[in-house]
């Protein structure tokens, strides 16, 4: 059995489950944000019950906060009233807001072997810590808030064998962009992507969170990493004590296998308008950039801030490039400040944003005009994603983004003068 199905079987009270089976699963954590929670709450209220467990429902006001406009303020106020009324223990508002998928692991809310569902497609991020985590819609979340249960179609799994040590300026983002490029945006639909191999140890936990975050961009139901020593130490650091747990791939559990050799993988760039349009950074067109965004649930963690700072130290952004840096959580924000990264960012000419999803989905804090181009460390580059439908978004890791902010065009960090 795949590790994903093992976790689902345990939560369904079963010895095993086969791919394609429909099963009723008990969930450990149910998540929604300021866009998806209002719809979930409206549906939930029709059921006329209380939440199944006020310590297992998480609400994060991260997408359009600090409130963008009156409509988003009303939505946040609606969620806030619900959270107070139902005494939701993990409700994040004001200065406690982080981008949900950066925040929840840091808060110690994610545990290996647990089942997490969220009304946000990037909920799959938590697979990096050995949890089965997947996105659903508001109605499924409403039902789960009421019952603590959800139905699943047990997924087939694809084993991703990662080998070797990545070169400089290459990390989890490049691994996943490369995979999405090979698989296509629907190449893993309904499937689990389970990562294994000696190359995993060479990826930081932050890098694995980045890789798992974008499993959905290949259509996958979830991404899953082994719980090795670095994960156990990461979790200890946030107050969660667990044992190591390797994936135990057996020959029957997987419908396919892929290999990625990190040694020979250059930094990747996804060209407009799909995350699967990936090329090596050297092959990306040398287009003039108007904006560079470093942040998001994909790349708003401490490692991302440090990599960006390393390249920006003592440099300035190119004229006419607006660089927006978004530390993904209050912890990342404070630590970046304490480590002196904010001085580097400000000296480079960057805008430092509070934690928010903001520009990633064209919400606020960096929306594009017609004809503008952005290079972004976010996860989607669909038409109009960051603003006007005649704008363009290119996706990359934070090193490529920082180097490109300095040069004004898409640039390999190794070639930055």
């Amino acid at each position: 059995m795949s590790q994903s199905r093992r976790i689902l079987a345990v939560h369904a009270g079963r010895e095993s489950v086969s791919p394609g089976e429909l099963i009723d699963v008990g969930v450990d954590l149910v998540l929604a944000n300021d866009i998806t929670a209002p719809l979930a709450i409206e549906e939930f209220n029709k059921l006329g019950v209380d939440v199944f467990d006020k310590s297992r429902v998480v609400l994060v006001l991260d997408h359009f906060t600090p409130n963008r406009d009156i409509a988003s303020a009303e939505q946040c106020a609606f969620v806030r009233r619900f959270a107070l009324e139902h005494r939701i223990e993990h409700f994040y508002d004001g200065g406690e807001v982080g981008i949900e998928h950066v925040l929840l692991p840091e808060e110690g809310l994610i545990r290996p072997g647990e089942v997490v569902i969220g009304a946000d497609s990037h909920t799959c991020t938590y697979g990096a810590l050995g949890a089965f985590a997947t996105g659903m819609g508001s109605t499924d979340i409403a039902a789960a808030m009421a019952t603590g249960k959800a139905w699943f179609r047990a997924p087939e799994a694809v084993l991703i064998n990662v080998t070797g040590k990545p070169g400089p300026w290459v990390g989890g983002k490049d691994l996943i962009l490369h995979l999405i490029g090979v698989l296509g945006v629907d190449g893993a639909t309904y499937r689990s992507l389970e990562f294994t191999g000696d190359g995993i140890a060479e990826l930081s936990v932050d890098g694995r969170l980045t890789a798992a975050n974008m499993a959905i961009e290949a259509g996958a139901k979830n991404g899953l990493f082994p719980v090795d020593r670095p994960v156990v130490e990461y979790l200890e650091g946030v107050g969660v004590k667990v044992a190591e747990c390797a994936l135990e791939p057996d020959e029957y559990g997987y419908v396919g296998e892929m290999s990625v050799d990190m040694v020979s993988l250059p930094p990747q760039v996804a060209l407009p308008h799909l995350p699967s349009n990936t090329v090596a950074v050297g092959e990306a067109p040398r287009v003039k950039l108007d904006q560079v965004v470093i942040g998001s649930c994909t790349n708003g963690r401490m490692e991302d801030m440090r990599v960006a700072a390393e390249l920006l130290r003592g440099r300035r952004t190119a004229p006419q490039v607006r660089l927006i840096i978004i530390p993904g959580s209050p912890r990342v924000y404070r630590r970046s400040m304490e480590e002196g990264l904010f001085d580097i960012f400000l000296d480079a000419g960057a805008v430092i944003s509070p934690p928010t999803c903001g520009p990633c989905l064209g919400g606020h804090m960096g929306v594009l005009a017609s004809g503008e181009r952005a290079l972004s460390t976010t996860n989607r580059n669909f038409t109009g994603r960051m603003g006007h439908r005649e704008s363009e978004v290119y996706l990359s890791n934070p090193a490529v983004a920082a180097a490109s902010a300095v040069s004004g065009t898409i640039t390999d960090p190794g070639e930055l003068r």
Partner: protein
């Protein structure tokens, strides 16, 4: 349940931002207002042309992208009776069924814009009346037909208390 309506043809990888753009979907929970903007980046005339009971017909991977339920809700409120596609992105598929909007997997390559279609959900039958052909389709699992016939998951749960699939 026999559904009849006209096909509105779209291509592959129609993402949730195309179905209802972020420009609109975060501004309001009023689905009738959102419905006016449905599919507008792909076809600005769509809302005006779509009659109650019509179908969206697309290629592979319909609904890829975000988990936001505004996508199937806006389609439903625009009068769309169902979406036929070669394949669906999984979160969209759940959301569509959970909101009472049929999502039908079938080989859509022969269907052209404006074709009259007949769909029998229980039998898993799709007929292109204009072309006089029947298209291979996989019937939905019973649990999903039950959810659809109640009009959605919450309606189903309100009536039956809970949902069990196994």
């Amino acid at each position: 349940m026999l559904l009849k309506g006209k096909a509105h043809r779209f291509g592959d990888d129609v993402n949730t931002d195309y179905i209802i753009s972020g420009r609109h979907k975060f501004k309001t929970l009023d689905m009738d207002e959102l419905a006016c903007h449905v599919m507008e980046d792909l076809d600005p005339e769509f809302y005006g042309r779509c009659q109650e009971g019509d179908f969206i017909v697309a290629g592979k991977n319909f609904g890829c992208g975000s988990s936001r339920e505004q996508a199937p809700l806006a389609l439903k409120h625009a009068g769309v009776a169902g979406v036929l596609a070669g394949s669906f992105a999984r979160i969209y598929f759940r959301n569509s069924i959970n909101n009472g909007l049929p999502a039908i997997v079938c080989d859509t390559t022969e269907i052209e814009d404006g074709d009259e279609l007949e769909i029998d959900l229980e039998a898993g039958m799709v007929r292109d009346v204009t072309k006089g052909i029947e298209l291979a389709s996989s019937p939905l699992p019973k649990v999903m037909l039950d959810i659809l016939s109640e009009g959605g998951l919450v309606e189903y749960m309100s009536r039956h208390g809970s949902l069990k699939v196994s």
